[in-house]
Symmetry: D3
Subunit: 131 residues, 6 copies
């Protein structure tokens, strides 16, 4: 159903197989989801995207669950079903409760509304917000 | 510069003035930003939006700073300059560091990229993500 | 400031000049706004776009003011400052009141919010909505 | 299929049940669509959203059918299948004809096109549109 | 499943049938896809859209395959499944290889990411980019 | 005007300075634009983004000018002024003519229009497009 074949393990190039091995080792599971199986047609794209996601989502000044919730928020704002579903699953695996999800969703909706109000009325940025 | 006049305090209806009073009391500042001054043309819209924002952004299962960062993420994903600037200012006032902002921004960018990869290739949602 | 030169009347090709003449005759004004002056670099694009806008915005099953308001709504939803401003001016010229504008804006905001709620939660379409 | 359970009537909290009762009374039908059944996990969000929709979509300076058509336009511009389908059904129930729908859709398409032309060429806003 | 009926050949108006005949003659195939079958409810919209697509996608300063790939890029950026799928099929019919598709997709993803980084940080346009 | 300081050369960390040196060497110019100067607050983000852009935009199955034009198309579709302007400048530096730009822009507009038509009418994907 994707516009390129979803590659199975035995169809991977050596370079893509190495990335899959790292995905499995990092996530401690045999499961590799379709997203990576479509990117695997382009080993450089696969490797770059995986390395970047691993780096961006690692614990830092923000904790991993907060990071997953921000990912969900952007994915909803950009109408990406795959990303909403996969990162909601990831956030739940990291402990997100139904209450946290509903609060997150409420903020996404509220931000979407006020975004459009400000744009529809072309509200000028206050001087106070320019530092 | 907005498409409706930015109302000054002495131009407010009684109902809008009451909302402004609550904004000032809640935020503990005399400053009321342009967003509310354009909405004030429609007191019902002003009141409803303010009450909703107050409710959504209050401490709950998510802390107020996390909420502001999610707000910034959605605003960036939807290309709203006013909202990016006003909520970045709000997040800084709540203690957001430069490092936290840069991590937030990195997630927004990464999510935007993977959103488009999944949509461009029409990657089907894995059964594992459907519960 | 645009990425192609804003063409003045004396810089137009014969074909573009003919379109400008029709814009002026149709709108009963000498003023031709920048949008058309950038498209004029490609006379076929200019002509096609003008003919389409003239056809789409003509009175039909919907009246011209309703059509302008729908145009504003889409432009706000897609973050196009130029289009929000030019079509708000056009709607006002056709009699849109401040109250109508504020109601329009409220719907845009509300739709934006519920759009994101439905996408964030991946709400399935009810059978009743599939005819 | 949604990322939270679609709640059935017997699973509602007292507060959510009260909102459902008002939805049924206002709409004069027993049918409550999935949108509200997902929001019902957060009674405050459910109540706030329903009260806002009821207020925004009520007759005012714009008639209810015009309001539904603006809702469809925004939903199409933001790629929300659920919202396009549910509000198209609502508009039909209020008397929207096929001809009105096709004119609406033509405006949405035309606005989307000219939005992108103006942004792609970074056309500056004419002084005449700044009041 | 569409919100208007997908019209079959025997249901077309004379004007819409003439457009279908031109689609078949131009594309050298009997197949007319659903997109045109929904637009056929509004013969003026059908004719205008077909004439525009035919004109825009014809060989010019850009070759037809490059044009199809740009079409895919915009469709992915705007979350349109129908358009991603139909134009990916069209590009493949014009010779697009898997490698070209993957490079295209990588650019779409990268552009999406840097778009959001620039908006999230409100990076000012360099003077050097204003000509 | 950006929400983080635009860093000057003497304010860079050692790691960011090394990336700037590579940007200068690769592009054969002393000029480093604001985009990189804001990312430089997060050396890992700066380095990762620069390495990715360098890799994605290098000659491959698509030539560099085609790649820049696809970048412009996505940036216009996502309403990013900074990106439209910077990549239009880059494309011109690689030889893009006014005619090529206008054809590109016409495709962006046409794709935006048909995207919205398909979504507004919820046109189902033809079986023929699912391979």
């Amino acid at each position: 159903m994707s516009t390129v074949k979803i590659l199975e393990d035995h169809e991977l190039s050596t370079e893509s197989a190495a990335v899959f091995a790292d995905i499995r080792a990092t996530r401690k599971t045999e499961f590799v989801n379709n997203f990576w199986r479509t990117l695997a047609h382009d080993p450089a794209l696969l490797k770059r995207t995986w390395e970047s996601v691993k780096q961006v989502m690692a614990p830092g000044a923000l904790d991993p669950l907060t990071k997953e919730m921000i990912y969900i928020a952007v994915s909803a704002a950009q109408s990406c079903e795959y990303c909403v579903r996969s990162h909601t699953a990831a956030a739940r695996a990291k402990g997100m409760t139904d209450q946290q999800l509903m609060e997150l969703v409420a903020i996404v909706g509220m931000a979407a509304e006020t975004n459009r109000l400000a744009i529809a009325l072309q509200t000028p940025v206050d001087e106070a917000f320019k530092l």
